[in-house]
Symmetry: C2
Subunit: 336 residues, 2 copies
Amino acid sequence: MNPDHSGSSSIVDGKVIVLSGGVGGAKLVLGLSHAVANDQLVVVTNTGDDFDHFGLRICPDTDTVLYTLAGLSNTELGWGRANETWTFMQTIKELGGPDWFNLGDADLALHIVRTQALKSGKTLTQVIAQLAQQLGIGVSLLPMSDQPVHTRVNTPNGQLAFQEYFVRDRCEPAVSGFEFAGIAQAQPNPLLLNALAATPAVVVIAPSNPYVSVDPILSVPGMREAIKHCGAPIVAVSPIVAGGAIKGPAAKMMQELDVPCSVEGIAQHYRGFIDGLIIDQQDAASAEAIAATGLSVRIAPSIMRTLDDRIALARVTLEFGREITRDRGGSLSGNE
Amino acid sequence: MNPDHSGSSSIVDGKVIVLSGGVGGAKLVLGLSHAVANDQLVVVTNTGDDFDHFGLRICPDTDTVLYTLAGLSNTELGWGRANETWTFMQTIKELGGPDWFNLGDADLALHIVRTQALKSGKTLTQVIAQLAQQLGIGVSLLPMSDQPVHTRVNTPNGQLAFQEYFVRDRCEPAVSGFEFAGIAQAQPNPLLLNALAATPAVVVIAPSNPYVSVDPILSVPGMREAIKHCGAPIVAVSPIVAGGAIKGPAAKMMQELDVPCSVEGIAQHYRGFIDGLIIDQQDAASAEAIAATGLSVRIAPSIMRTLDDRIALARVTLEFGREITRDRGGSLSGNE
């Protein structure tokens, strides 16, 4: 992805593992891909919102990261591919097929190639690796698990499949909780376990939705423990800025779940798991209270509008991780 | 399809059953749809060249007829849809997927809707009926069988699946014979059997490839007998004109199979089954020899360039059928 940095010194030595959902996570992932060497970066994507549609396996978060890293993402829509055409969906409507989930013509090719490869017996990890390679992506892109997990949203009117809630119903129903169907049978991605076992430099939780993007990853049996005990600091970037979410239903969910919709709420959500939290300058007033709970806090511009914003936040995140390691007295990472 | 003719008197009373392959057959089918009332026309399509590609069921002959009747066919390409886009195929190439069989973005929607419906347990007949209705087609469009049949082409270098021969290898290998895999387990379309049992006015064999379009239909166990004994005259339109095929590999196949590549060769192929053969004016000199074998012959312009050509040939075909019935002394059809 980033030949300029290949072989050059990074802010940290060792692997950088980032847990990511879709859009917001993908932005930080792109920044990280410019801040470290390709072989340092391991991106773990949420597969809880994967689903089958038109008989095809669709992996929204993984694909958003894939398209973002490949420089193909549709930044206007916030999902799918740039320079997309929509003939397929138009025809689906004419044929009376389901039209609540939009799939572009180019996007569709990815889903068909993936579905075919899965049916041939390949694991999701193998399929994503092959697609990433085909799209010229040099970093390691790992779905959280090769076993299917399905996020379900509890609402007053019953349970909804995630994409029904998210796309079809536009996040309108109030949420009362979540279920990750299949999670008990899921295993952490083996390549991720390998990377964790080799003591990475830092584990980053991207500014993704804590409930439906990050929690599914952390809920894979053994995942939380493997990350917690990998020897690297765990640093989260708050997806909440000034009491709101940059994108998506995180803030609405926090309100409905009666959780403080603030960086304090995020700190509370990840308490006991993360070592440090990055909050935006707009939330600087909350830093002291969060630090008082024993968490390291870094204040930094965390709204990523430009590529430079993404790279800058990535660098801050890496430096923050390095400092936590140094403060611990560890020397497992950092290039001092 | 053709409200002008609904309720108006047709050349024949009763059902008109036409057996059709792709392009050439679809032209005559379109002509017939303008010459009789919607509820009179029953189109039986070859499914021997159906195949699964990208995990999708593709029915080339049925779809060509479907698109032709819906006014959506791509007359430049001779297959697929007009006003098509090709983003899907371009992306498949970028992703390293198989690109030997072109699928347009709109065409793809049909295949996906069909595949989903088949997976839900619907029969191919039900699925095609639903698609035809959705596309505003009023005539009855019946796949020859609901059970899958796969035409295979024998060549000196072994057997090829039909689409490998036809599309991938561009009909280049010499053919030595054909196999219709699955044919022993196939049953004639039940709705076709109903139409045959009700004594149609005429059965038409469209000017389609006799080996790979018509023979698969006639090879479904019980099909040949059900047609032969339905009480209606069986009239074929020669796909060979002046020693060549209008389109496709029929002439090349006849040469390779050492069959006279002429209207006589077509007469010989269908001998004992058809009652009448329509040949082009260019083949008028062959009429006497064919008639001498006991077959009724009609000479008519049979190269269909315009819609008027199609309708004219359809009318000739129907009149020919009516005359054969009258000559037999039968009164089962005809509006005398």
